[in-house]
């Protein structure tokens, strides 16, 4: 075969690679790699949108270490995870168990549980804001009033606002957790249940000794993705509380937004975004460390 024929054959077999991959790599470099590096460079500069950036070294990083609001925002984000992760997993698992229990119209209800996942946060926040109004006419206050509980301030109360936002997030994402658990439940060997029943195990015993441990990879995957999601929470705080009252719902991304785009401290916001990145990186590395290759999850 001549060289020309070989080259021609090579081109015929791989033309699609060169034609499509090269523009995509350029796009990737411009919109992913370059911004990632630019952001890091920015953390060492003073840059006020207008004018030239000025090198300031570690100034913004040092400021971060002493910035009590940033630490408060990190703490709020951790607390948000505490309020959010276990309930999301529990609700998702319960939904999956019900759907998987052989009920009729399972597909229809699966759709209902999944509906909030595809619905905009703006719509859901609009409704929840109204339900959790801190007045006596608020629906939740009305309902708890029926069992004799005093009306609460909810989103205007600095100790209640964060749990209310977490509850909203549970409602928003439990449907996707359900899908993971449902897939997990379906992959469990039916023979195991029959064997357990033969041995006379009760329903709750079967759940805790067979089902729950066999879902371990799913628990782990859901816990990791939910944790990562909780560190990126922004929409509900922006829409419902504006980070307040008294910074009680200022999460790390909300603070980043506030610093970058309200106060125009873009460099400092870049520092905060790198802090967020390092946290998410650590969580992802933990995931890899513990999940490794033994599991069928990536």
């Amino acid at each position: 075969m001549t060289l020309r024929a070989r080259l021609k054959r090579q081109w015929d077999r791989n033309a699609i690679v060169y034609i499509f991959l090269i523009p995509i790599l350029i796009h990737f470099a411009i919109f992913q790699v370059y911004p990632f590096l630019l952001s890091f460079y920015l953390t060492f500069m003073d840059w006020k949108v207008i004018g030239d950036p000025e090198f300031v070294g570690l100034k913004h990083w040092k400021y971060f270490l002493s910035d009590s609001i940033a630490w408060k925002a990190l703490w709020n984000t951790v607390m948000f995870s505490v309020y959010y992760i276990v309930p999301t997993m529990a609700v998702g698992l319960i939904l999956a168990l019900i759907i998987n229990s052989g009920v009729k119209m399972a597909g229809f209800f699966k759709g209902i549980f999944f509906l909030p996942v595809v619905t905009s946060f703006v719509i859901i926040a609009g409704i929840w804001g109204w339900l959790f109004r801190g007045t006596e006419e608020g629906m939740i206050n009305y309902l708890i009033g029926l069992i004799g509980i005093e009306p609460q301030l909810f989103l205007s109360d600095s100790s209640q606002a964060l749990p209310v936002l977490a509850a909203l997030s549970v409602f928003k994402v439990a449907g996707s957790t359900m899908i993971y658990y449902f897939a997990g439940l379906q992959s469990i060997d039916k023979g195991l249940y029959e064997a357990a029943k033969m041995d006379g195990a009760s329903t709750s015993k079967i759940f805790w000794k067979v089902t729950f441990p066999l879902l371990k990879p799913i628990h782990f995957y859901v816990a990791i993705t939910t944790t990562i999601g909780s560190f990126q929470i922004f929409d509900s705080a922006y829409l419902l509380t504006g980070g307040g009252p008294n910074y009680a719902t200022t999460t790390i991304v909300y603070y980043l937004y506030n610093q970058g785009f309200t106060s125009l401290n873009l460099s400092y916001a870049a520092v905060l975004s790198y802090v967020l990145f390092f946290i998410i990186l650590m969580i992802s590395l933990l995931q890899r460390r513990f999940l490794g290759k033994e599991s069928n999850l990536y």
């Binding site: 699609i16 911004p35 873009l266």
Partner: protein, 267 residues
């Protein structure tokens, strides 16, 4: 007995999950006074279409929907095409650096988009893209997750079909369109539905790149309305209208959402 518990739980939870949407619809037909004083959201005594007329009044709401359509439809179409082709390339083609490029792509998924938003804002200011569709369309023309999904799917398909087509003298593009694409329709539909939901519902990026109300997508428009109207009926009419496209897409493509969620989490 177990069945009974399952059904009771199913209906209670189903009601809880559906209730906010019922409240949205009922609320959208309510006069202000009723909405204010009726904590339980019964069917309104005097249902009114006033709220819907109000939001349609000066065409601004329609403009927001139009903006949302523009910044959603183009990326959805483009992602379906590019993710299908790239998924095919990474699943079936052997070329120099394939593994390295793919794992760099996968590594980048770990970078939170909030990190990229500040440098992108600076870049887009330089490009003159602030308050334009470009800022929301161009970066979304393809997606790493979509490439990953298609690759996963095609790796499970034997190479024989392609080989046969090669022997018959078909070239790459012919094989892609005649053999690969028809097989990948379910996964490409999944990529499309995910792209639709993420672009249609995105609040963060429009909030950063857009400052003029006439450029707002419906999420941001609705958010600005929630901030200033203080009238539940109007807010809910706006929510209901902006919810319709999501709901229709969901109704027709529900299967692809759940399949996609499973595929992205489970190999």
């Amino acid at each position: 007995m177990k069945k009974v518990i399952s059904y009771v739980a199913l209906f209670i939870l189903g009601f809880c999950f559906l209730m906010p949407f019922i409240i949205m619809i009922l609320g959208s037909f309510k006069n202000v006074e009723y909405a204010q004083l009726d904590p339980l959201f019964w069917i309104p005594d005097e249902p009114t279409l006033k709220n819907y007329f109000y939001i349609m009044r000066d065409g601004q709401f329609l403009r927001w929907i139009f903006n949302s359509v523009v910044i959603t439809v183009i990326p959805v179409a483009s992602q379906m095409i590019f993710c299908a082709i790239l998924g095919y390339i990474f699943a079936k083609k052997k070329f120099f650096g394939r593994e390295v490029i793919f794992w760099v792509f996968m590594g980048v998924i770990m970078i939170p988009q909030q990190l990229l938003i500040i440098p992108k804002y600076i870049m887009f200011s330089d490009f003159g893209w602030i308050n334009t569709y470009w800022a929301l369309i161009v970066p979304e023309l393809w997606g790493i997750m979509g490439v990953f999904l298609v690759r996963q799917f095609l790796q499970g398909i034997p190479n024989d079909l392609e080989e046969a087509a090669y022997i018959d003298g078909a070239n790459d593009l012919q094989i892609f369109f005649k053999v690969i694409l028809p097989l990948s329709i379910p996964v490409v539909a999944t990529v499309g539905t995910f792209a639709f939901i993420s672009n249609w519902n995105d609040l963060f990026q429009p909030l950063i790149y857009l400052t003029q109300e006439k450029m707002f997508p419906v999420t941001l428009g609705l958010a600005s309305m929630l901030g200033k109207e203080g009238n539940f009926g109007i807010e809910m009419a706006g929510s209901a209208v902006s919810f319709i496209p999501t709901f229709l897409i969901f109704l027709f493509f529900q299967r692809y959402f759940t399949e996609g969620i499973q595929m992205s989490g489970l190999k």
